[in-house]
């Protein structure tokens, strides 16, 4: 047998063995991983409303308990009406409600947008006044670590707290990520609609700004309901 054939056979065998090993690891651990991803999403929802501190360690059970006690998930139609789960169509949007003492404190909308290298997934929590942001989190992204990847860090997300999605005149303005830090000369009346950006990650900021605008626009009917204090009909499960 020539040495070429031998090399090719050896490479083939190695590849097959390695791929079996990888398939086994991936298939065998999938259940655990999916569970972790689910808990992580719930943790991010709790972080967005300020029930969980990202710096503190939490047990899986604590997260699930906190989530079960405080958060309810619904689907709303494009007009902002709550639709029942079985009638939920493609055109309805998911929304999470944080209730404290039977009062809606805030509502959380999932953010799912394009980033520079891949999709960015996160949550944006808005106060029940329909305009103030209470928190923003990112749980999955493929941005460059150290640059765009900073969007998952607390210092960046903290900037969103207390910002408004309405401008001074009361019309929809969304929230924009500035290019680098906001300069001191930044006009005061625009300040509630802008957050500090990440220097070196202008494009990530640009895509995220566009993504937030799209998402907030889509949920605007719901936000208007909150703003005008119309009751949102939610039935207890």
């Amino acid at each position: 047998m020539s040495s070429y054939v031998k090399s090719i056979l050896f490479a083939l065998t190695t590849a097959v063995i390695c791929s079996f090993l990888l398939t086994a690891a991936s298939a065998g651990l999938k259940g655990f991983q999916l569970e972790n991803i689910d808990v992580d999403k719930k943790k991010n929802i709790l972080m967005a409303v300020g029930l969980v501190d990202s710096e503190e360690p939490y047990q899986k059970k604590d997260i699930l308990d906190l989530y079960g006690e405080n958060i309810q998930s619904f689907r709303v139609s494009l007009e902002g009406e709550v639709v029942s789960r079985d009638k939920a169509s493609e055109a309805s949007l998911p929304i999470y409600i944080y209730q404290k003492d039977r009062e809606i404190t805030s509502y959380i909308i999932p953010v799912n947008t394009r980033g520079l290298w891949g999709k960015i997934f996160g949550y944006l929590a808005l106060n029940s006044d329909g305009s103030t942001v209470t928190g923003f989190t990112v749980y999955k992204h493929s941005e460059t670590p150290g640059l765009g990847g900073e969007i998952e860090k607390r210092w960046f997300q903290k900037n969103f707290e207390g910002k408004k999605i309405l401008d001074k005149a009361g019309s929809f303005a969304s929230i924009s990520i500035a290019k680098g830090f906001l300069p001191e000369s930044f006009p005061q009346d625009k300040l509630p609609n802008y957050v500090d950006g990440i220097s070196g990650a202008t494009l990530t900021g640009k895509y995220l700004t566009a993504g937030l605008k799209n998402v907030l626009q889509a949920y605007e009917p719901v936000s208007i309901k909150f703003r005008t204090k119309q009751s949102i009909q939610i039935r207890e499960k």
């Binding site: 490479a11 090993l21 690891a25 991983q33 991803i37």
Partner: protein
């Protein structure tokens, strides 16, 4: 024969200090800068590398007499890459938060010079048992440097160890402040430099 005189013990202990991969051979610095802000990530990273390194050494040493010379590097790389992916999957299943913090750095073990270097220079020429011990030793050497650096950075940078506050709040009231510089990558450079100096000073024949 005493345990400390055996070949296997030597294969383990020499890379631990005298031939430490980071402080002596200056390999694997990249990850040492990136994951040493906290002890937790440093420990997990050290364990992952030790796992990959010892088993890749073992596997390659077992195959050393049958690997065709012309494709040996490709074979080494596929063994290492597979092990790294397995390690990453395990972290994702059982230590999800830490695996998120380590992000790309577990995957980058594939390109860590220590792993490939040990496969090429040691595992190809030694028995499986010795190679495995060599992997463990190098892994432990790497981990020990990582953990020492992380210890200093976490203590001075955020006043914590393993996530628990160790500097009492009284100290902060008296005007003590965390050293923000320790959280940045250049701090790791300086600490590693000091560790290298310390090691050279300790091991030099004075």
């Amino acid at each position: 024969m005493k345990l400390t005189k055996t070949k296997h013990y030597k294969a383990f202990s020499v890379p631990l200090l005298q031939e430490n991969p980071i402080s002596r051979q200056m390999l694997g610095i990249c990850s040492a800068l990136a994951v040493t802000v906290q002890m937790k990530t440093a420990i997990v990273m050290g364990l992952s590398l030790t796992f990959v390194l010892s088993f890749s050494n073992l596997a390659i040493s077992l195959m050393r007499n049958v690997i065709p010379r012309n494709i040996r590097m490709i074979v080494e790389l596929s063994v290492i890459a597979s092990l790294v992916i397995v390690a990453d999957e395990i972290l994702r299943a059982f230590l999800y938060d830490i695996s998120k913090q380590l992000s790309v750095f577990v995957g980058l073990i594939i390109t860590n010079c220590i792993v490939m270097g040990r496969a090429e220079t040691y595992a190809l020429g030694h028995s499986p048992g010795l190679s495995f011990m060599d992997g463990l030793g190098n892994g432990a050497g790497y981990s020990s440097v990582l953990i020492s650096v992380a210890f200093i950075r976490e203590l001075l940078g955020s006043g914590k160890l393993l996530g628990y506050q160790v500097i009492p709040s009284m100290a902060y009231d008296l005007g003590y402040e965390n050293m923000g510089f320790m959280l940045l990558a250049p701090a790791a450079f300086i600490i590693i430099g000091l560790l290298v100096w310390l090691q050279n000073w300790l091991t030099s024949d004075r």
